[in-house]
């Protein structure tokens, strides 16, 4: 599952990710997140830590790509 939030800036990637998680509550999360907002490099891991999700940075150039999984 891939969520493409390229082109969006703070706070929209976090809000859209939150919405996705709320809509899929109770299910196992395994998503690739694609972003262009550089602030996301710090914000997505911070959000995931607080939400209890594993977050791995797959690449940061040319686009930012995270894998996010349930713990």
């Amino acid at each position: 599952m891939e969520l493409d939030y390229a082109g969006l800036v703070c706070p929209m990637p976090i809000l859209k990710l939150k919405k996705y998680l709320a809509q899929n509550k109770g299910q196992i999360v395994d998503i690739d997140l694609v972003l262009s907002d550089k602030g996301s490099l710090r914000d997505i891991p911070a959000f995931c830590e607080q939400a209890g999700l594993n977050c791995t940075l797959l690449k940061s150039e040319p686009e930012i790509r995270f894998n996010i999984k349930s713990c």
Binding site: V9, C10, P11, M12, I14, K18, F47, Q50
Partner: protein, 174 residues
Amino acid sequence: MNSDTVSSGKLSVIHTKGTLDWAYPTFILASTAAAMDKEVELFFTFYGLKAVLKSTDTLKVSPLGNPGMVLHSPVGPNWFKELDLNSVLPGLVWTLPGMSLLATWGFKQTLLQQGQVPVGELRDLCIELGVKMTVCQMTMDMMGYKEEDFIEGVEFAGAATYFANTPKSQSLYV
């Protein structure tokens, strides 16, 4: 900030500014905090009331008396778009008729080109995420606004209610 305020997971923002630029930080912080499961309370007072009027059209921005503002043209050749018009043009320019409308238009276009959403959309997201909003009753009466001028879901109360509701909140003043 002490450990008590962090663990309680509550944020309150006192919003006092009536311009478009300052509506963004408040709604960005509020929506993000709510997405991170904090209870969020926004208290709108004085000019800040404009941020919760039904129409966001009265939210404007002007470089006049606003030296910190960076204003780029959203149109034109690249060398022109890179200029900070607030630094290169004399301040007198912004007193001309129509300039605040032009600056507001340019500011909105720049935000949209960057990937930011219109302020009304961000505000709707705050409500969707459960952010509680309170309008200062005294200011509303003083400025001649009516309850029906404001968006659905806001409450009307005074400073005592704000303090009663937010003793354990991390509080910001915008």
